[in-house]
Symmetry: C2
Subunit: 262 residues, 2 copies
C-alpha cells in the first residue's frame, strides 16, 4: 500500500537549473540533505558539498543562487511531499473528521513509509524541517522571497488543511491559523522532546514519540475546532465547562495523561 511513485515538482523560482534533470543536480540534492542533517545548516557550505560530491564549487552555483535558495528548495520538496501523502492517504475517505485524523497523522510523521524518490532521504529531510525549517521564512528577505513564489507549496498545503478544518466545522473562525499552528506545533513538540524537554509534555521515550505527538495534535485540533465563543454567552459557557470538567475527570482519572509533574 502507498508504494506509488510520487513525482515532486518544485517551483522554478527555486533553482537556476532544475537539479532533477542531471546527475550532478541529483547528487547536489541528495548530499545537501545528508550533510545538512548531519552538520546543520550553518556549518553546511557549498565548498564542503562540492568536495563530498566531487564537483567544482561554481558548478553548484549553476543550479542554485546560494545556500538559502537551495534550503528553501528542500523545504518546498518536503511540503510537496507532505501534500502528496495527504492526497494519497485521504482520497477514499468520506468522513471529514476521519480525513482530518489522517492528516494529523501525516503531519506528526507517523505514516511515512513512502520512499518515493530514490535520491532523497525523506527521514533526514524531515529532521531538517523539524530542526531548521523556521529559518526558511524567518528573515528580512521574506517579502522578496514570497513575491518570487518561494512559499507557494507551504501556502497550498496550509490551505488544503484549512479547507478540511472548515469541512469538519463550517463555523470555525480560524482555519488558516489553526492549520499553520498544527504544522508548527507538531515540529516544535518533536524538537522540544528531543532537545528542550521542559517545553513539552511529550516524552521522548521508546518509539512512541510520533504517536504521542499525534495524540497531542488531535487533542489540540478537535478541542479548538469545537471550541465555543468565550464571553458571548457566559451562562452557556459555564454550563459547558462544568459538563466537560466532569467528562474529563471521568475519562482521565486513571490515564497516563495525568503523568505531568511540574
Amino acid at each position: 500500500m502507498n508504494n506509488l511513485v510520487i513525482n515532486i515538482k518544485v517551483h522554478e523560482s527555486l533553482y537556476l537549473k532544475d537539479p532533477q534533470t542531471t546527475d550532478l543536480g541529483k547528487r547536489i540534492i541528495e548530499h545537501s540533505v545528508l550533510m545538512i542533517d548531519k552538520i546543520g545548516l550553518e556549518c553546511f557550505t557549498f565548498g564542503k558539498l562540492s568536495k563530498v560530491i566531487n564537483a567544482a564549487e561554481p558548478s553548484i552555483y549553476r543550479y542554485f543562487e546560494n545556500k538559502h535558495q537551495l534550503f528553501v528548495y528542500l523545504l518546498n520538496w518536503y511540503w510537496e511531499w507532505m501534500a502528496a501523502r495527504i492526497e494519497l492517504n485521504t482520497m477514499n475517505i468520506t468522513s471529514a473528521a476521519a480525513r482530518l485524523k489522517i492528516v494529523l497523522n501525516v503531519i506528526a510523521d507517523a505514516a511515512k513509509k513512502n520512499s518515493s524518490i530514490e535520491f532523497v532521504d525523506e527521514e533526514a529531510l524531515h529532521r531538517i524541517v523539524v530542526t531548521e525549517g523556521a529559518k526558511g521564512y524567518h528573515h528580512k528577505m521574506v517579502d522578496a522571497d514570497n513575491k518570487e513564489g518561494f512559499f507557494l507549496a507551504c501556502k497550498r498545503l496550509c490551505e488544503k488543511i484549512a479547507d478540511l478544518l472548515i469541512e469538519v466545522n463550517p463555523n470555525f473562525p480560524y482555519p488558516r491559523s489553526l492549520a499553520s499552528s498544527l504544522l508548527e506545533t507538531a515540529n516544535s513538540n518533536l524538537y522540544f522532546a528531543k532537545h528542550l524537554p521542559r517545553l513539552t509534555d511529550v516524552k521522548n521515550e521508546g518509539n512512541m514519540l510520533t504517536q504521542r505527538v499525534k495524540d497531542l495534535l488531535e487533542y489540540f485540533c478537535f478541542g479548538i475546532l469545537y471550541a465555543y465563543d468565550f464571553g458571548k454567552d457566559e451562562q452557556l459557557n459555564h454550563q459547558l465547562i462544568a459538563t466537560k470538567k466532569v467528562s474529563y475527570a471521568n475519562a482521565h482519572s486513571s490515564d497516563n495523561a495525568m503523568e505531568h509533574t511540574l
Copy 2:
C-alpha cells in the same frame, strides 16, 4: 501604572563580561537591538556594529564570544522582561482564568507601555523575537547551549504559564506544550499577518493586530484547556458538539469572525 523600574538579570553564561556594567556594554546592547531590527540577524555583524558605536571590533568580543551568544542574550532579556510584566500585571488578581487572560494579553504584546530599561528599545526587541526568535534554539548546537543554561529564562517563563494553565484546569494533560505553543502561535500569527497572510486568519489592518492575536490566543487556549477527551465517551462528545455548534452559530452569525474566504 506599571512604571516601576524592572531590573533584568541575564544568566552569566550568556556573556563574557556583563554589558550592563559599562558604557560600551550598554551601547553594544542598544545598537545590536536597533541594527538587528533594521537589517536582520544575517546581515548584522560585529564589524558593522563596531563602526556604528565607534568602537573597535575586538572590544565587542570582550563582552560576547560571538554573534550567536549576543543574540541569545537578547532573547533572554526578552523572556525575562515578559516574565516580569506577567508578574507585575497579575500579582493582585485572584481568579486564575482572569490571570490567564492577562498573560495572553502580554504574550500578544498588547500591554507593553513599560520602557523599563532606558538603553533597550523593547518594541524593536519584540520585532526581533517575532522575526528571528526561532533561530535562537533551532540549530545543531542546541544541546550544548542548553547545558550552559542559555534557555533557562525561556523554560521558567514556559513553566510559569504552564502552572497557570494547570490552575485553571487541574486535569489538563498538556500544560507545557500549550504554554510553548501559545508563545509560538502569538509570534507566528503576528509574523504571518505581516509577511505571509495566507497562513493566518488575523488581518494586519488598522491598529487592531495585537488585539486580534489576543482574541485568537484566547479562543485557542480556552478551547484546548476545556477540551474533552475525544473517543472515550462518544455520546457525551456528540452532545457537546451539537450544543456548541448552536452556541457558536448564534454568537457569530453576524460577526466579522465569519469573514474567512478560502
